[in-house]
Structure formats: structure tokens, C-alpha cells
Symmetry: C2
Subunit: 290 residues, 2 copies
């Protein structure tokens, strides 16, 4: 199925990529954007991501059949309040946030009567680069998108959002909101915390160590995600705080176990941990096909 | 300068790559190998990494002008003892181990009178794949090699090893032994511990979480080094134990600081840590030219 008018709130890398994918796929006739950064909106028009942009969020959504909230997590509640009263009766709203419990609460409060037409979503795709200039129409192709409908979510709204992601080439899976937040804390939020903490830890060493001069490809791969947007990750930490703390504590326990094994010079214990990790990582590579 | 006969002890990815690079560069006329795995030695001959192989380490080095020890760290001391008495009077010995203090001690004990002709070395290049079948002649091209000569090291021996690495296309730097072990603990050994610990931590979650199904490119990059050889990393942990423990403790302190900032919901504190890390990581990318 296709729609007439799509609104994309937030003209960044993710919103821009989705808009470009949907225009390329002919999923919508018209894409109207809004964001707080006028330069980014102009760039989004120049890149063909959006056809035009509105002066405010309510203006952007008033003609929309489908609204995608691709704005920072911290802005979701005011944004939902701003558009709640301007939506058409049939309009469906979805989002792309990396944490889902906080967005569901923001939508419940802000969208009011439109909440059953809100479908929480999270594409598992991204880059460490932000900004619409890094958007691409095939960002989501063959990537997973997790939808986390709640009991109130209307089946028709869910179906439209499924159609949208399928038009963008994504694969879909549904999870419970809390399961999503717990799993993503482990597979995405925790690794980002570790990468940020490692690079910061090294950056704070005495100048004469010049450690980065001696870092190789392994370090480069490991730490790439520490180039991600600090603002986005601040928001994720605040939005998914309790699950991230749980994941950090679990990891700290594991690291302490490893430390104990190293300290007592227990070669067999090290081999056991490293072999179990290698086996899991190799299996992950095989499933990903690379 | 070039030599007549090179001996490579250890027919793995690193030893095989160096032998191939030096044969390609015409640095030596003859390469003789030795390793504990006869199949690997046959593969090394088939791949053209070595010309032939000996029945034991002493036999491999007896005609060599230059000996490269590319065997596991844990075998360095018995290996040095095995070759010490078989070396020619002028033969120079070097190694490629990821930790240097333990190798220097093994060489001091094992090589005896030949110790001044031992040049400790460590190429900052590698892959998560081991085995001679993953070797390549250009592995070291434009990569850094750290040499850590000690006061006893003879200038002529150091020069020959410099010539060898330059023939393989590497860039050279000299560091003090302890400085090497401290810096590598931070930039290489610590990230590997974190990657192994993270993957193991996730692998131990309850089956129904299926967390790896929801992991994206960031996780893939971050955890790639957890596919590295468990045996090699066991040896590195045992060889560089005290510096790795120091690095783990420094990291645990940093992670605990980050945890506190997340727990108190301190957005500005998070922004400060993430921004400092991003700046350092971006500067690292810029220096690497990608």
C-alpha cells in the first residue's frame, strides 16, 4: 500500500535516509519535513529527502497520513504534545528511537486520543556519522526493524508502519517494549558505553604515553562507535537508564571475574572464557554471513 | 642490505606473512621454517612462505643469518633454550611477540651469549584470523613495528632487524620495554579483554533473550576482536599480567564514573564524557586518514 503525504520530524541521518528510501520506493507522493535546524532542512530538500518543510511541527503533520518522529529522544514528549492536536483523524504516527519505554510514555501523554495510532519502532541500522548529509536511501535494506506495539495499538496502524518499513527494504520483528529495552541495552547501549569509556580512559592518560600512536586496526574497529553523537547517546542513557545500569553491572561482574582469573595466572580459566567468547562471536559472524 | 638465510620459527599468520613479504622483497635467498604443526609447515611451503622446513628448532636456525621467533609467547623460553647453542656466531634473533618484558627475560635466560644479538620486536598489525592460510605479503605495509632494544643489544643486530622490517614495508619506532608493555596493555590488550568479556557476558544471558539476533554493525565492529585466538590471548595475559591488571583497574574506575553519572541522570556529565571520547576518536581517525 502507499500513502499520499508523509511527514518526517527531524531531518537527520535516520529521518533523511527513511524519507529518501520511501520516495525512491514510491511509497508516498509528498514528503514534508520539520526540524529545529533550518540549514539541515534546506540540505534535506537539496538532497531530495523531503519535498518541502514546515515552520513548525504541527504545520508539518496537518496534512500527513503518516508521521515519522526521527527527532532526538529528549524531544519526544514536547514533540508529541505539539502535534497531538494537529493530526488528521486517520493519521498514524511512528518513531525510530533507540529506547522504547520512554517514547511510549511520551506518546501516551502527548498524543492523547491519537495514542492507539502510535506504533513504536526502532530500525537496527545506523552509522557513527550523524546529519542528513550522511543519509542514504538504502540504509535500511536488509536491516532489522523492531516494532514494539502496545495493547492499545490499532492493527491498521501497525500494518501501515509495517508496509512503510517493507517499502524501505527492511526486515521486521515485533518485541515487547521492555524486552526491546533490555536487549538493546545489552547489544547496543552497553557496547557504546564501553567504547566511549575506553577512548576517554586512554585520552586521559599522561601526554607522554601517546597511546593512540600505537593503536592498530583492532582498536580502530572496537572504538569506532565512540565517534557517535554525544547528544544522541546522552539521550539514550537518560531514556533507558535502568536497563543500561543493569547491563553495566552485569558487565562489571564479568570483567571482575576475568580480572580474578588473570590475577591468579589461571591459563585454563582464561582459555575457557576466551574460547566461549570466540565461539559465540564466530557463530554471530556466520549468521550475519560475514 | 640483504641476507642469505632466514629462519622463521612458528608458521602462523604473522610468521607466514613476514616470510612472504621478505621473499617478495628479495631480502633473503632462502627461508627455512619450523613449527610444532607439520600440516601448517606443509601449507607454508605450498603457499611459498617458506622454502623448506627443519625437523626441530635447532636444525632450522643452524644456517640462519637471521632468526624470527613468531611462535606463541608461552613457548619463547623453551624455544630460546633450544636454539641458543645452535646459532651461528653472527646470527641475529628477533621476535614478534605482543608483550616484550617476558620475551626479553626468556631470551636473556635461553639465548645466553647470543642475547646481545637479540632484538625484541612487535609489529602492530594483525587480524582476528590465525593460521598461515591467512598470511599475506603486504600485512605489514605502512604498519608500525615497535622495536624495544635493551642496553645489551648490539647496534649491528638492531640495524639488521630494522632493515628486515623496512624490506617488509613497515614503519619503525623504538620504545623502552616497559613503555611498550604499558602502552600495548592500554591500546590492544585492554580492548581485547573488553571484547571477550562483552561477548561472553551476552552469550551467558538466558536463551530466550536471543540478543545476538538484534545486534547491529556497531556491535559487529566492536566485538570482531573477540574472534581472536584464545591461546594467543591466554599467553598475552600471562606474559603481560601486571600491566593488563593496571589497565583493567583504570578502565573499571572510568566505567564506574560513567555509571555514577548515568545513575544520577546527569545529562551534562554524560555529554562531557561522550564529547571528550568522540573528540579523541575523531582525531585518531583523522591521523589514520580514515
Amino acid at each position: 500500500m502507499t500513502i499520499d503525504c508523509l511527514a518526517v520530524i527531524g531531518a537527520g541521518m535516520i529521518g533523511g535516509s527513511l524519507a529518501r528510501a520511501l520516495r525512491t520506493a514510491g511509497f508516498c507522493n509528498d514528503v514534508i519535513g520539520f526540524g529545529r535546524n533550518a540549514d539541515a532542512l534546506k540540505k534535506a530538500v537539496a538532497l531530495g529527502a523531503i519535498g518541502r518543510f514546515a515552520a513548525d511541527a504541527a504545520g508539518a503533520v496537518q496534512d500527513a497520513d503518516l508521521v515519522v518522529l526521527a527527532a532526538p529522544l529528549a524531544t519526544m514528549e514536547p514533540l508529541c504534545r505539539a502535534i497531538g492536536g494537529a493530526l488528521q483523524e486517520h493519521a498514524v504516527v511512528t518513531d525510530v528511537g533507540s529506547a522504547k519505554r520512554s517514547v511510549v510514555e511520551a506518546a501516551r501523554t502527548g498524543l492523547g486520543a491519537a495514542f492507539p495510532r502510535f506504533v513504536p519502532g526502532h530500525p537496527i541500522a545506523g552509522k557513527e556519522k550523524s546529519g542528513v548529509e550522511h543519509s542514504s536511501a538504502d540504509l535500511f535494506r536488509d536491516h532489522l526493524v523492531i516494532l514494539t506495539p502496545v495493547p492499545e495499538t490499532l492493527p491498521g496502524a501497525l500494518q501501515l508502519v509495517r508496509d512503510m518499513w517493507q517499502a524501505a527494504g527492511a526486515r521486521l520483528v515485533e518485541l515487547d517494549v521492555d524486552h526491546h529495552d533490555r536487549v538493546l541495552a545489552a547489544t547496543s547501549h552497553l557496547p557504546h558505553m564501553l567504547a566511549f569509556a575506553l577512548v576517554d580512559c586512554l585520552a586521559r592518560l599522561p601526554e607522554q604515553e601517546r597511546v593512540f600512536d600505537f593503536a592498530a586496526g583492532g582498536f580502530a574497529d572496537f572504538s569506532r562507535i565512540a565517534s557517535s553523537s554525544p547528544v544522541m547517546w546522552r539521550d539514550v542513557c537518560l531514556a533507558n537508564r535502568s536497563e543500561i545500569l543493569r547491563a553495566l553491572d552485569r558487565f562489571a561482574g564479568e570483567l571482575n571475574e576475568l580480572r580474578t582469573v588473570i590475577e591468579r595466572g589461571d591459563g585454563d580459566g582464561l582459555l575457557e572464557i576466551f574460547s566461549r567468547a570466540k565461539e559465540a562471536r564466530d557463530a554471530f559472524s556466520t549468521r550475519r554471513g560475514r
